[in-house]
C-alpha cells in the first residue's frame, strides 16, 4: 500500500525529486511525519495548497486517504 507525492515548483528542490512514492498512511499528518523534517516543514507552509487525486482540498477539509492516492503539493503559482 502506498501514496504518490507530487512536488511542484520550488518544492521540487526541497524534495530533491518531482515525485515519490511513500508508504500508505490514512492521514496527511502521518504522511508528513514520515518525511525528513525540513521537507515536512516546507510542505506545511501556509501558502502551500494541496490537491488529492487532482482536486484541490482545503486544509481543514482533508479527506481520509486511500491506497494509491496522489497528493500534489502546490506552492504559489508564477505563470505566463
Amino acid at each position: 500500500m502506498s501514496l504518490k507525492l507530487v512536488f511542484l515548483g520550488r518544492l521540487e528542490d526541497a524534495a530533491g525529486v518531482a515525485e515519490r512514492e511513500v508508504p500508505f498512511a490514512p492521514a496527511l499528518r502521518d504522511v508528513l511525519a514520515g518525511l525528513d523534517s525540513e521537507l515536512s516543514e516546507a510542505l506545511s507552509g501556509a501558502r502551500i495548497k494541496l490537491a488529492v487525486n487532482g482536486k484541490l482540498v482545503a486544509g481543514h477539509d482533508l479527506p481520509m486517504l486511500a491506497d494509491g492516492d496522489e497528493l500534489a503539493f502546490l506552492p504559489p503559482v508564477s505563470g505566463g
Binding site: G9, D13, L56, A72, G79
Partner: protein, 163 residues
C-alpha cells in the same frame, strides 16, 4: 415522440484553449483566429515571449512546469468565465509548458468581438488571470543555475482591477 438532448453550451465552442509542450507560431494563430471570426469587427491579442536580455545575468532558459490534473481544466474554466463577462465572438488561449529560450513565445490570448472595448478588456482580463492564478510554476536558468520564480506583487495588483 423523441426527446432531443440539450445543445452544448455555445460558450464551449467559442473558446479554443490549448496547453502546448512544443513551440508555436503566435502570428499564425492570430491569422487563423481572425479568419475564423468574420463577424468580429476587432481582434485584440497579447503575445508573451521570453525576453532577450543584454544583462550580465541573461536568462539562458526559462521553464514552465504545470500539473496535468489542474492546469488545462483551470485554463478552460478561465475561458468560460471570460466569455460570460464580455460579449465575444471567440476567444483563444494558448500557453506553453516546458523549456523555452529567448524569443520563444510563452502565451497568446486573442479575443474577437463586434466591439473594440470588449475585445481589449477580455484579452487584458484573461492575461491577468493567467499570470496570477493559473497553475504554472516558472524557473529560470541564469549562469548555469536554475532558480524558481515567485509571483510578483504587480500581478496581484493587476488582478485587483477586476473586482
Amino acid at each position: 415522440m423523441s426527446w432531443r438532448s440539450c445543445p452544448p453550451s455555445v460558450a464551449v465552442e467559442m473558446a479554443d484553449v490549448r496547453l502546448l509542450s512544443a513551440p508555436f507560431d503566435p502570428a499564425g494563430e492570430i491569422a487563423a483566429f481572425t479568419k475564423a471570426h468574420p463577424q468580429a469587427g476587432g481582434i485584440a491579442s497579447f503575445i508573451g515571449q521570453v525576453r532577450a536580455s543584454a544583462d550580465d545575468s541573461a536568462v539562458e532558459l526559462l521553464e514552465l512546469r504545470h500539473y496535468d490534473p489542474l492546469t488545462l481544466p483551470a485554463m478552460q474554466a478561465l475561458a468560460q468565465e471570460t466569455l460570460r463577462r464580455w460579449a465575444l465572438e471567440g476567444l483563444l488561449i494558448v500557453h506553453r509548458s516546458g523549456q523555452m529560450a529567448a524569443g520563444d513565445p510563452i502565451v497568446l490570448v486573442a479575443a474577437a468581438s463586434r466591439h473594440r472595448r470588449e475585445a481589449f478588456a477580455a484579452a487584458d482580463y484573461a492575461m491577468d488571470k493567467l499570470k496570477s492564478q493559473s497553475w504554472f510554476w516558472k524557473r529560470e536558468r541564469t549562469g548555469g543555475e536554475w532558480r524558481w520564480i515567485e509571483p510578483r506583487t504587480e500581478d496581484f495588483d493587476d488582478l485587483a482591477r477586476w473586482g
